[in-house]
């Protein structure tokens, strides 16, 4: 029996626009006193009318373009009618027939995942259940929400997780949302079934949509659980997918299992129809081009670019992971994309800088990243004036106090003496002062380390150790 999971992901991203989708209310609702960011429009009061938020529409198109979608120039909103206490108007304004963009793709591990659609809609209010009562907070009602729907092109929980991470990364890159799963600004609902090949026959198990998954690991675990559950279930009942046995299951992160929420999903009839309160929206070629031009360079492009600078695939990915970090890196290398220099800077970024940021739980401060500092440090390391170890130390200090790292090294006497003449003078002195050690060396060359130590002492630690060794060997005759 061969089992292949078939997974499609529906992802909702809350945009971080200042105002809500169809009114002027503050769109921020995280840790805000309930029902303080509301107005007649987002409360759906009699007589109130929606007016679309242009920035949100632009951003929705921006996400579509970043995912390689085609943009529909003429789109319109529709009403999705259903009853729920936190749905103020009795319908949600969304898009069905003409989403802002369609047909995109994301490449995960050389595998292409097709994006079916990227559309714009509004969020609902939030029901809070306390004891036996339900309270409703409308602060979230009308917050702009972009829905990104993938085709069922995903075949493992690991790829699903990577897809989400990639999506999250792109959305953060273009700066339209925090895309934070824990805070609910990115929500993911996987739909899963299995293709089972057994004795030359192919079976498809019933679809299950999973809700309430609140972390990346949760998505991975929920899919894994569901794959096992469906496998076991199939062994018992051999039930196959049909048009009426799709179920909705919830994810219980504590118990690490999914549980049945609703059966027979096909009966939901949302009575979609074009929203008569909103005229169709038209984007011109020029407007779409302007949005396209406003897109930053995306991580995939950056990775290719970094590799052309001589960085490894691994290093490129780490640097491109976060938009701000990548920007800082590019600022540090400036116009000089000499391979040695780039590698040098990359090592510093991936090493001490990243460690520092992780330790302080902070974002990199672009203002403190100066190309001149990195370049002068690079030259000093190249000419062996400053050791690699010292370089990593002084660059952190330089970042913290905004001073030239070479100057810091000089101040601390950390500049390495690599001048052969100076080293030779010191070597001769050491040989004169330590006749016994010289004799020992002649019997046993392994004792040279004592003389090197003496030379380092004389140089107050600034002598280039390898040059010191070479010079001593030369003078003493190997």
């Amino acid at each position: 029996m061969k089992i292949s999971p078939i997974i499609g992901l529906e992802v909702h991203v809350e945009l971080k626009t200042k105002s809500k989708m169809f009114c002027g209310c503050d769109a921020n609702h995280f840790h805000v006193e309930p029902n303080t960011h509301t107005c007649p429009v987002c409360l759906g009061l009699p007589g109130a009318l929606p007016v679309p938020n242009k920035t949100a529409c632009d951003w929705c198109i921006k996400i579509g373009l970043a995912l390689g979608c085609e943009v529909n120039k003429l789109t319109f909103f529709e009403r999705k009618n259903y009853f729920y206490p936190d749905l103020a108007k009795g319908f949600q304004i969304t898009q069905l027939q003409k989403p802002f963009s369609i047909n995109g793709k994301l490449i995960i591990d050389d595998q292409e995942i097709t994006i079916n659609r990227v559309h714009m809609e509004e969020d609902t209010g939030k029901s809070v259940h306390i004891d036996d009562s339900t309270l409703i907070d409308f602060n979230r009602s009308g917050v702009p929400l972009v829905e990104i729907v993938s085709e069922p092109d995903i075949h493992s929980s690991a790829i699903a997780k990577k897809y989400l991470q990639k999506l999250q990364q792109i959305i953060r890159y273009i700066g339209v949302s925090d895309a934070d799963i824990e805070k609910g600004s990115l929500r993911c609902e996987p739909t899963i079934n299995l293709m089972i090949e057994d004795n030359g026959k192919t079976y498809y198990t019933p679809l299950a949509e999973i809700k309430n998954v609140a972390s990346l690991t949760g998505v991975e675990n929920a899919i894994d659980f569901e794959v096992n559950r469906q496998t076991e279930q199939f062994k018992i009942d051999h039930q196959q997918k049909n048009s009426s046995n799709k179920t909705t299951r919830g994810w219980d992160a504590d118990k690490n299992q999914t549980f049945l929420q609703r059966e027979k999903e096909e009966n939901a009839d949302y009575r979609y129809f074009p929203e008569p309160d909103l005229p169709p929206i038209e984007y011109s070629e020029t407007e779409i081009e302007a949005i396209s031009k406003s897109l930053p360079e995306l991580p995939n492009r950056k990775i290719v670019k970094y590799k052309s600078y001589g960085l490894s695939d691994y290093d490129s990915q780490i640097i491109a992971d976060n938009s701000l970090f990548a920007t800082a890196f590019e600022r540090a290398i400036g116009e000089k994309n000499d391979k040695e220099f780039c590698k040098f800077v990359a090592n510093i970024f991936i090493g001490p800088i990243l460690t520092l940021l992780n330790k302080s739980q902070s974002e990199i401060d672009l203002d403190k990243i100066k190309h001149e500092y990195f370049y002068s440090l690079f030259k000093s390391v190249s000419s062996s004036e400053i050791s690699n170890t010292m370089a990593k130390q002084v660059i952190i200090e330089s970042y913290q106090i905004d001073e030239d790292p070479v100057y810091i090294a000089a101040k601390k006497g950390l500049i390495q003496v690599s001048d052969p003449g100076k080293i030779e003078m010191m070597a001769r002195q050491v040989i004169l002062d330590n006749p016994k050690a010289v004799n020992d060396y002649k019997k046993n060359p392994l004792t040279l380390s004592f003389l090197i130590g003496q030379l380092m002492k004389v140089s107050l630690g600034s002598a280039n150790p390898s040059l010191a060794k070479e010079t001593l060997e030369k003078l003493l005759g190997k």
Binding site: L45, P46, G47, L49, G90, D269, Y272, P276, P279
Partner: protein
């Protein structure tokens, strides 16, 4: 009676201090006190002291530059939300509803200095053509109190006919301003879709709803329209089209214009007396140099089905917010007629029926838009009847749902196409019941309609006739 005067005369008198806004308000309340127990046109009457307080302030503030509406008493159909005064849409569902904001049209009138007298009775949510589908008792026709006042805006029209106020603001989705105007002998304007903001107007069917004036004359309507029309940032469907100085263009010549008479609007089903009175409008306009031309609008028969699929579809969605959780009343507070429309609309939008009903109706709607464009390329304006019959007796419409829909047969296609239409008094039946005619024009041709209406009213006196109560 001061309230027989038109707005320009009243404003002039106020500015010259021949009389005061307080006088006007007192006259309104005196008429209301005398007759509204019979007519039942109000749902909420602003307390007299409150109206007088506003009138006194208006009298104090008036100057030569004040708006023509400054100090003028008016009423609103009860579908416009108002702060501090309840708004019911004539339904028990909202019987205790107080809006935290003002409708744009109301706000504009307040800014102009007009004085609100009350909120008027209507068919609940706009669902009806007789003002019988109301939870506040039916509105009686001032010309014959055994008969309906028309609808859905029966209250506003009856109030103007009986001089309870100088003008009213109504809302027309499929004839709700024009039908009661015709049956109560007042002048009413259904504007181009998007001409006046709908913000704060409780929706019946969003893509048909229009906000417009009801008054005694075309000129009054022109003055009111100047104040209430225009783009509103709170209504995405309001138009940026420039607002004309409608009242200053009223005397521009109309000779040489061609008025089209679409034959389909004058066939079987139209009461002969109404037919004759409406056609006589063409004859009278001829004396002003207007040409007439018979044209054909073959889509006519599809008007009712298109309207009664799309409008209920939209209303089923618009009313879904009254889900029994908010607003204090449960869904069984809806009337039979409203439940019927919600059920029809829910059905026509349902999976499996959408293509056959809603989608098909939208396609036919596009054809209607084309049909009006074509008709109005052959002539400048169209002359059409408003109602197929004179005002019926109580119960005739509300107890016969199909007949109830047929009352709208001449007034829905303009909303379907979005074009403006002016309802004008044009005669009386043998039994002295009013008859109205409508002049329909291209999108945003209100200036032309009002001009024709004004000049027609210069040579006729139907609009000056008052019911004897």
């Amino acid at each position: 009676m001061l309230l027989d005067k038109n707005i320009a005369e009243l404003s002039d008198g106020l500015k010259k201090k021949l009389f005061t806004s307080v006088d006007l308000v007192n006259e309104c309340y005196s008429n209301i006190k005398k007759y509204d127990l019979t007519i039942n046109s109000f749902i909420t009457l602003v307390p007299l002291e409150e109206a007088l307080k506003n009138a006194k302030l208006a009298d104090k503030n008036i100057n030569d530059h004040s708006s023509l509406l400054h100090g003028i008493p008016f009423v609103l159909k009860d579908c416009f939300v108002t702060k501090n005064i309840k708004t019911t849409a004539a339904s028990n569902v909202l019987k205790n509803f107080n809006s935290p904001f003002n409708a744009t049209v109301y706000q504009k009138l307040l800014s102009a200095g007009a004085i609100l007298i009350g909120k008027m009775n209507m068919d609940a949510w706009g669902h009806g053509g007789s003002s019988e589908n109301t939870d506040f008792g039916p509105v009686k026709n001032p010309w014959d109190i055994k008969r309906v006042a028309g609808g859905s805006g029966g209250g506003p029209a009856a109030a103007i006919a009986t001089r309870f106020a100088v003008f009213a603001i109504g809302e027309d989705t499929g004839g709700s301003i024009r039908n009661p105007s015709a049956w109560c002998n007042v002048t009413g304007l259904k504007v181009t879709y998007g001409r006046v903001s709908r913000y704060g107007s409780i929706a019946y069917a969003s893509s048909f709803d229009t906000v417009g004036p009801t008054a005694k004359t075309s000129k009054d309507c022109a003055i009111i329209l100047e104040t209430i029309a225009g783009l509103d940032k709170y209504d995405a469907t309001s138009s940026p089209q420039k607002v004309s100085n409608y009242s200053r263009l009223l005397n521009q010549k109309i000779s040489g214009l061609t008025i089209g008479i679409p034959k389909e609007f004058f066939q079987d089903g139209l009461d002969p007396e109404i037919r004759q009175a409406v056609l006589s409008v063409a004859e009278k306009l001829k004396s002003l140099g207007v040409n007439t031309k018979e044209i054909s609008m073959p889509m006519f028969d599809y008007g009712l089905p298109v309207y009664y699929i799309i409008a209920p579809s939209e209303t089923s969605s618009n009313l879904s917010r009254y889900d029994g959780i908010r607003y204090g009343q449960n869904r069984d507070s809806f009337t039979q007629e409203t439940m019927r429309r919600i059920m029809i609309g829910t059905y026509t939008l349902s999976a499996g029926y959408y293509d056959a009903y809603y989608k098909k109706a939208q396609e036919v709607r596009t054809l209607f838009i084309g049909e009006y464009k074509k008709a109005l390329s052959e002539c400048d304006v169209l002359l059409q009847p408003i109602t197929p019959t004179p005002p019926p007796l109580f119960g005739e419409l509300i107890n016969n749902p199909l007949q109830n829909l047929l009352a709208d047969v001449y007034t829905i296609s303009q909303n379907t196409a979005g074009v403006p239409s002016l309802a004008l008094p044009c005669g009386f039946t043998k039994n002295n019941l009013p008859i109205g005619a409508q002049i329909v024009g291209q999108m945003f041709s209100e200036d032309l309609l009002l001009r024709i209406g004004h000049q027609f009213q210069q040579i006729t006196d139907y609009h000056l006739q008052k019911p004897k109560l």
